[in-house]
């Protein structure tokens, strides 16, 4: 069956979003809404994502055991699903961050001479 491509499904971006979610959760447990806004604000609104695309990512991360979820009560007393980082997730975050920085440095080195 043909698979439709969702906007963030290309591998690189998918990995990036995963990393951003994990990074957000380092500060403590949060629910989906908080995570979405934290990413948006943290990037000073450069990364405009459809907030919905967060949910498949959360599902995937939970499935891999990098985050865990629990039901809690939100600031305004609503039942909400909270996510927290697991030890495996923490390790994964540092692995991904390292690799990301390598990639960025590499790309940077390639791009810099061209701009000079």
């Amino acid at each position: 069956m043909p698979r439709r491509e969702s906007p963030l499904q290309s591998e690189m971006l998918q990995g990036t979003l995963d990393m951003l979610v994990l990074r957000t959760l380092v500060l403590g447990p949060a629910h989906g809404h908080t995570i979405a806004h934290a990413i948006e604000r943290g990037s000073e609104d450069v990364l405009q994502i459809e907030h919905g695309s967060l949910y498949p990512a959360l599902h995937r991360l939970e499935d891999r055991g990098w985050i865990a979820s629990f039901w809690g009560t939100s600031e305004n007393n609503r039942k909400a699903k909270y996510y927290r980082l697991t030890p495996a997730g923490r390790k994964q975050l540092s692995v991904q961050t390292t690799r990301w920085e390598q990639v960025v440095r590499a790309i940077g080195r390639i791009l810099k001479p061209a701009t000079e």
């Binding site: 969702s6 629910h31 919905g52 695309s53 498949p56 599902h59 995937r60 939100s74 609503r78 909400a80």
Partner: protein, 905 residues
């Protein structure tokens, strides 16, 4: 992809939806906080979130096992389709249920009778010690070959190198008294080694052991000494002791002597085919055993890895040893038996147990399978018609992007579901069918009443259901899932254009059906002819339904003196004769067709010598005065015994007509001639000749028989005590035979003479006669049912095809009528079509039948497998029926109103 997630995906979906709903609320709240009106705030939140369905689908797909999901979808769709055409579904399900059910029923019979008939550990090592003796003519005809003598048993058991255990056994009856009414029970007497060879552990207590086989005293006229222990069969134990384990050690009075119960065998334990009530030790008396006494069945367990050929060679090596070790008396050389040319021909036990039941069952199985094929042809036809109607739908699905594989799969899923549902119903049919089979099955099917639907049968049914489903789905799938979308879409909905190709498939199916029906009808016809021929055979007795038989045996422990035994039997006969309505009474060692083990003797007619002094063995019966008269056997010459002959121990015999012809040319010439058993025994005078009696069953040739009197001198010791027939069957001729009141009077009459005499095998001759016909009747009934079903299915098939053709060609017919076609000519047009189909089917069927009916040879009697009458009648009947089946739709065609049909287009 884990199955757990797959099964939990509905819950996941709910949770994620809830989460997104929560997101929307917060986002909306925040937007409202920024001063937007609620509706706008909500809309903005929705935009921010994106397409919710898409997200849910994405998550759903992450959790999905695609194939399973698609299958479930196909199944739901299939169910909807099936539910939408209930008539079609009902017809198809019914056909499948009958087809699968009938096969499952027959399979479970084949399974328990042919595939696993032996319930012994490592049954493949078990063998029957069968022996041929071509030199002992007369015995060669007997299916059982030459049985073992006690001395043979000793030699074989003690000196063989190829058996783990080996023994001999003999079935019999015994009278048990002291427990309510006296009862005659079925016994098996075994030597040491029989239970050990079979290897089935006792349910309670212990086996009979070598110590039980040591005779404690001699018995007169017997190779067996006195023994004092007994084992119980499971059924007997349940019936009389309620399964009480404390019976071990108690005493049971068997043939008026106490025996200690030492053990109980488990449920279903059999010695070859016999399920005994009691198992007794043979306790051979070594001192009295001689070379002769060939009356014992041998059974053994081969050592692992030993082949039957090796075991045969081993026993053949022991035969000379046996001849030299034992003797028939002083001055008699044991090597005399070399004339018999005895040859061990060991057989697997399974072959012995299954016997010729196999051929009958395979015929039935084949028949049922053929009927199922026919039924499937009809269902396939239905599916084809329906697939045609669904062409538009299938084409539409293809046009919407469904691949070929996808459509084939959904069609197959649909038909497999049909198959499975049919199979589920089929199990119900199988249960009912088994009841029927067990009720009408012949008695020689081993363990018939134990047949049940077991796991293997379920597996078989399941497999059959799935295969049927696939098989049925393939035809429409291949035909209609093909890439002919545009053509289908364009032509659907119009009746005028029908491709010839589609007719061809249907025509082939119908021709096949007619052919199969013809084969089955010919087989059924052959069986009917066989049954009719059998009815005309003179069995050697008359008025079978008015002949009551009852078996009574008088053990030597109850009445030791032979003369007194005969006196008692004579009294019993007189008492029975005094019952109102009884016209005559007699008794004999065996009534015809009773299937008691036969007796054999060497017979030398006076004036004839045989090479090596070996005369053929002839069957003998001991008969009382009046026995043959009571049976209705005609006397062709001379006279019957009278009581004065019996008590006077006169040296007289009667012979059967065929024996008289063989020895003296004509029955009348036989009277006054003499014969004897051996050169040292006295001559006996022939006083009468009796018509031939079908002693072994109506289908077996009447054997040559010598009738001895019920009491006679011991031929080998004329001065010793005479020998009496102690176990005899009384036959009582009365119009009231078989009625409850009559049987009560019979019982009272016997017990008024001696209250410890049990009555066994209480039957009428009619029942015995029918039983000997059971195999034929069973095959006849099965083939009759199958043939009838096949004919119906074939006619329905033809009717369906012609109707369909008529409906497809309505337009053409309308035009023909409009142009002035005669109704008769129109009818002939379609009847001719039907006739062509029937003709092709009949021709194919005749060819197939000529080949297949040869397989039936063993169940046919008196006619050839290519019996001309059957082969002429059946096609005529079948073609006549087809003409009728095609005439009905043809008449409809002729009645077509041209105006209406042309307007309808």
């Amino acid at each position: 992809m884990s199955l757990r997630r797959f099964l939990r995906r509905a819950q996941w979906d709910r949770e994620r939806s809830e989460e997104m709903e929560f997101y929307l609320r917060i986002e909306t709240d925040e937007n409202v906080g920024r001063g937007l009106p609620y509706d706008e705030a909500r809309a903005k939140a929705l935009r921010k979130l994106g397409n919710r369905t898409l997200i849910r689908e994405e998550i759903y797909r992450m959790n999905t096992i695609t194939l399973l999901d698609a299958l479930a979808g196909d199944m739901r769709y299939g169910l909807r389709i099936l539910a939408r055409s209930p008539m079609f579904t009902a017809a198809a399900l019914l056909t499948l249920a009958i087809g699968i059910g009938a096969n499952a029923a027959v399979f479970s019979v084949v399974n328990s009778v042919l595939l696993r008939p032996l319930r012994y550990p490592k049954a493949e090592q078990l063998v029957v010690l069968h022996q041929d003796a071509p030199g002992a003519a007369g015995l060669a005809n007997a299916a059982d070959g030459l049985a073992l003598s006690p001395s043979m048993y000793f030699t074989y058991a003690e000196q063989n190198r190829t058996f783990q255990a080996l023994g001999v056994w003999i079935p019999g009856t015994a009278n048990v008294t002291g427990l309510a009414e006296p009862e005659q029970v079925r016994t098996v007497s075994v030597s040491d080694g029989v239970l050990q060879a079979l290897g089935v552990p006792p349910a309670a207590g212990r086996w009979l052991l070598p110590a039980d086989q040591i005779p404690q005293a001699s018995e007169p006229n017997s190779f067996s000494g006195r023994s004092s222990t007994v084992m119980l069969g499971y059924g007997y134990w349940r019936r009389h002791f309620g399964g009480d384990r404390s019976v071990i050690g108690r005493n049971l009075t068997v043939n008026s002597r106490p025996r200690q119960i030492v053990g109980v065998m488990p449920r279903g334990f059999r010695i070859v085919k016999i399920e005994p009530d009691l198992i007794l030790p043979l306790a051979f008396d070594r001192g009295r055993v001689i070379l002769a006494g060939f009356g014992f069945h041998g059974i053994g367990r081969l050592k692992p890895g030993v082949t039957i050929a090796q075991a045969n060679a081993d026993l053949a090596r022991l035969l000379p040893v046996w001849m030299d070790t034992w003797s028939n008396g002083p001055n008699l050389n044991g090597r005399w038996y070399e004339n018999w040319r005895i040859r061990p021909t060991i057989r697997p036990l399974k072959q012995q147990v299954v016997g010729n039941a196999g051929s009958v069952l395979w015929i039935v199985m084949g028949t049922i399978a053929l009927v199922m094929l026919m039924a499937y042809a009809n269902v396939t036809n239905l599916l084809l018609v329906r697939a045609e109607a669904r062409q538009r739908e299938l084409a539409l699905r293809a046009a919407l992007g469904a691949g070929l594989a996808r459509i084939v799969r959904s069609l197959l899923v649909e038909s497999v579901m049909l198959g499975l549902m049919g199979g589920a119903l089929g199990v119900v049919v199988a249960y009912a069918g088994l009841r029927l089979l067990v009720a009408i099955g012949p008695a020689n099917l081993p363990r018939l009443n134990e047949i049940s639907v077991d796991l293997r049968t379920f597996g078989f049914t399941l497999m059959l259901s799935v295969l049927s489903g696939l098989f049925l789905g393939l035809a429409p799938a291949f035909r209609y899932a093909g890439p002919r979308i545009s053509a289908a879409l364009r032509s659907a909905g119009r009746t005028a254009s029908v491709s010839r190709e589609r007719h061809r498939a249907r025509n082939v199916l119908v021709v096949a059906q007619v052919a199969i029906a013809l084969v089955l009808l010919v087989s059924a016809g052959l069986m009917i002819r066989t049954a009719r021929v059998l009815r005309t055979v003179e069995p050697g007795f008359t008025g079978a339904e008015h002949l009551q038989t009852v078996r009574i045996s008088i053990p030597s422990s109850l009445i030791p003196e032979p003369q007194l035994v005969i006196r008692t039997q004579h009294d019993l006969a007189d008492k029975l004769k005094s019952i109102p309505g009884v016209t005559s009474v007699g008794f004999a060692s065996e009534a015809p067709m009773e299937a008691e083990p036969p007796n054999w003797d060497n017979i030398f007619p006076e004036g004839k010598t045989y090479p090596g002094d070996v005369a053929p063995l002839r069957r003998f019966e001991n008969v009382s005065p009046g026995f043959l008269h009571t049976m209705g056997a005609r006397l062709t010459a001379g006279r019957e015994f009278i009581w004065t002959d019996i008590y006077g121990l006169r040296p007289m015999v009667m012979v059967s007509e065929n024996l008289a012809r063989e020895f003296w040319g004509a029955p009348s010439a036989a009277v006054g001639k003499r014969l004897r058993q051996a050169s040292i025994t006295p001559w006996q005078e022939v006083i009468g000749v009796v018509q031939d009696v079908r002693q072994n069953g109506i289908q077996e040739k009447a054997p040559e028989i010598v009738y001895w009197p019920v009491l006679m001198r011991n031929q080998f010791a004329p001065n010793g005590p005479p020998i009496a027939a102690r176990a005899v069957t009384f036959v009582i001729r009365s119009e009231r035979a078989g009625t409850g009141g009559f049987l009560n009077q019979v019982r009272q009459a016997v017990w008024s003479r001696n209250a410890s005499l049990p009555l066994a095998s209480v039957r009428t001759m009619r029942e015995i006669y029918d039983e000997s016909l059971a195999t034929t009747s069973f095959t006849l009934v099965m083939l009759g049912i199958a043939g009838g079903m096949a004919m119906m299915l074939g006619l329905i098939g033809i009717y369906g095809v012609i109707s369909y053709v008529v409906s497809q060609r309505t337009r053409e017919i309308g035009i023909r009528v409009a142009l002035g076609a005669e109704p008769g000519a129109l009818r002939w047009l379609f009847v001719r079509y039907g006739l062509a189909l029937a003709g092709a089917g009949t021709a194919t069927g005749l060819a197939a039948a000529a080949g297949l009916t040869r397989l039936m040879k063993s169940v046919l009697f008196g006619i050839s497998p290519v019996d001309p009458l059957t082969y002429m009648t059946v096609p005529v009947v079948l073609i006549a029926a087809t003409v009728l089946a095609s005439y009905l739709p043809a008449r409809r065609a002729a009645a077509v109103d041209p105006v209406e049909t042309l307007r309808a287009e």
